[in-house]
Amino acid sequence: MTTPSTVEVDRTPLPGIGLRLEFVIGDGRRIGVIHRQRGGVELFISHPSEPDLTATSVDLTASEAATLTELFGGSVFSHELSHLREAASAIVVDWLPIETGSRFVDRPLGDTELRTRTGVSIVAVIRDGKAIPSPPPRFVFAAGDVVVAVGTVEALAAATEILRSEA
């Protein structure tokens, strides 16, 4: 995985609305997202000639936003999201084993579609006593791996079931 580039992200609280995160892209436009307190995310990009003005904005539900993040391959802001979600429901960290009979042994992490199916985020995989942080979707599981995942209690239970399912 390439190291994340160091784009400077501006954080602006929008009182009563939520939190706005944005940065300036190569052509001078601002691009960013607004995390709504009430849930949901707004994606926006500013005008090419008038950078103060929003050119287009798109409202996304939490799961649509999560899918989009997945399409980009890796989430820079997952800590932001989980921080915001914490307010709504209890977020737990859990350790989910990949057992020998699991159908995901020797298959890439992306195949589990855990985030899309359950909303659970994988933050690391522990192999041979060492933690591999933020494994990419192409990361291939081996029997005995332990997945460190974050999510609600229900979502984690669902994720455990999926990882346990046999080939």
């Binding site: 926006f44 008038e50 003005l53």
Partner: protein
């Protein structure tokens, strides 16, 4: 008799629905329309309707309490402290420039200090409801000036908590000491609410929060009314109590409160504006039209200046400053709540008609000004793309030309391109 009452109530609610939809279609606030309907069906009006006074009375009271409670719920304490630090300067400019017009006009008209103080509040406070809705509808939350506008609105709402406490004390004829007591009382109430929230929060939550929406709704409403009633008992206004309680509520409770009590607020909020309109004698409007027009022009302009100052301190350019000013022009729910304090206290009879006229004027003018700045923006953006090249591929032919060459290619193509860029 009962049937007639239900018929009338149904007719009124249907009219409110129609007005709300009408306002929604044009992205305008329904509040001036509700006030207007009240004027139209009031006792001394052309079309008097004998809607049961008790129902409307009670509904209006609940409306104010819910409006303020849910306003408090929108904000968390952290946001308030962070927002105020950054927008301290624009907030001061806002208070000075916009309180004075109302206060001075009241003074010139020879009103009592208290009545003039209330009119100052009416012109001071922008409608956060109207401004926030416009920003959402137009997709302007990503704009540079958005945090500036929202911070000014937060400060106004905070100032309101203190202002309402002072105003409530002045209206019942309290001295300076009485007003100070009222402020201390609200501060003490905040303390009690915060301590109770942190200490017994989980126990109260367990009692109130279950999976059943019904019990959550009843429990929430019960707590809000209890705190509002307690506040009223210790001579702090019920509205302030509800607002402070709203601030103390956060997290999951806040989300559910918004979802469950929101519809009730809309119903009783509309009832409140209708009720306020009902009290105003339409015949009292013409005599105050001149001061009302003066106030609409002056208080509209001072908000433009406020927005300009606030947006510049957040680094916005001319377009953003213009939009921020326009967004702040509209006055609404709070101005009417302040004026209602004066009506309840039997103060200056001209206060209610003047406040109605000013709010109706500015609540229409504000969104109109916002839409106008939108048109100016689009024109500016469009010209910039045509002349200096945009990134839209379909217009690449034009954008590779220098401005002079575009001119040379003749008006026909030029106009055609402009048209195609409008949408």
């Amino acid at each position: 008799m009962r049937g007639v009452f239900l018929l009338e109530l149904g007719a009124v609610l249907l009219s409110l629905t129609f007005l709300a939809r009408l306002a929604g279609r044009f992205s305008f606030s329904p509040i001036p329309l509700y006030l207007g309907l009240g004027l139209l069906i009031g006792e001394d009006s052309l079309l008097p309707l004998d809607v049961s006074r008790e129902f409307v009375d009670l509904g209006a009271e609940l409306g104010v309490i819910l409006l303020l409670f849910l306003l408090g719920v929108e904000y968390s304490i952290d946001e308030l402290t962070a927002g105020t630090r950054r927008a301290y300067r624009p907030g001061t400019v806002d208070l000075t420039l916009n309180f004075l017009p109302g206060f001075l006009v009241g003074w010139v008209l020879g009103w009592s200090f208290t009545a003039a103080f209330l009119l100052g509040g009416v012109t001071y406070i922008s409608s956060s409801g109207i401004a926030a809705k416009l920003m959402r509808d137009l997709g302007w939350l990503g704009n540079r000036e958005a945090p500036a506008v929202l911070s000014v609105l937060v400060i106004e709402d905070l100032v309101m908590a203190i202002y309402l406490a002072v105003a409530a004390a002045l209206v019942i004829g309290a001295s300076v000491g009485g007003a100070a007591w009222s402020i201390l009382g609200s501060a003490a109430l905040v303390g009690v609410v915060l301590v109770a929230a942190s200490r017994f929060g989980s126990r109260i939550s367990r009692l109130v929060f279950t999976h059943s929406d019904e019990s959550v709704l009843l429990g929430m409403l019960g707590i809000v009314l209890t705190v509002a009633g307690l506040a009223e008992q210790v001579r702090v206004s019920a509205a302030v109590g509800a607002f402070l309680l709203g601030l103390a509520v956060s997290g999951e409770a806040a989300q559910r409160a918004g979802r469950l009590l929101g519809p009730l607020r809309d119903l009783f909020g509309a009832t409140f504006f209708l009720f306020f309109g009902l009290q105003v004698d339409p015949g009292a409007i013409p005599p105050i039209l001149t001061p009302a027009m003066v106030l609409v022009v002056v208080a509209g302009t001072t908000k433009l200046v406020t927005g300009w100052v606030a947006a510049s301190s957040f680094g916005a350019t001319a377009g953003g400053r213009r939009r921020a000013g326009a967004l702040l022009i509209a006055r609404g729910e709070f101005s009417i709540i302040i004026a209602e304090l004066g009506v309840e206290g039997g103060l200056e009879p001209q206060l209610a008609p003047l406040a109605t006229a000013v709010v109706v004027g500015l609540a229409v003018l504000g969104p109109a000004a916002v839409h106008l700045t939108g048109v100016i923006d689009r024109r500016g953006v469009r010209d910039a793309i045509v002349l200096y090249g945009g990134r839209h591929d379909s217009h690449a032919v034009v954008s590779t030309q220098s401005p002079r060459e575009v001119e040379k290619r003749g008006d026909e193509l030029h106009i055609e391109t402009r048209e195609s860029l409008v949408d």
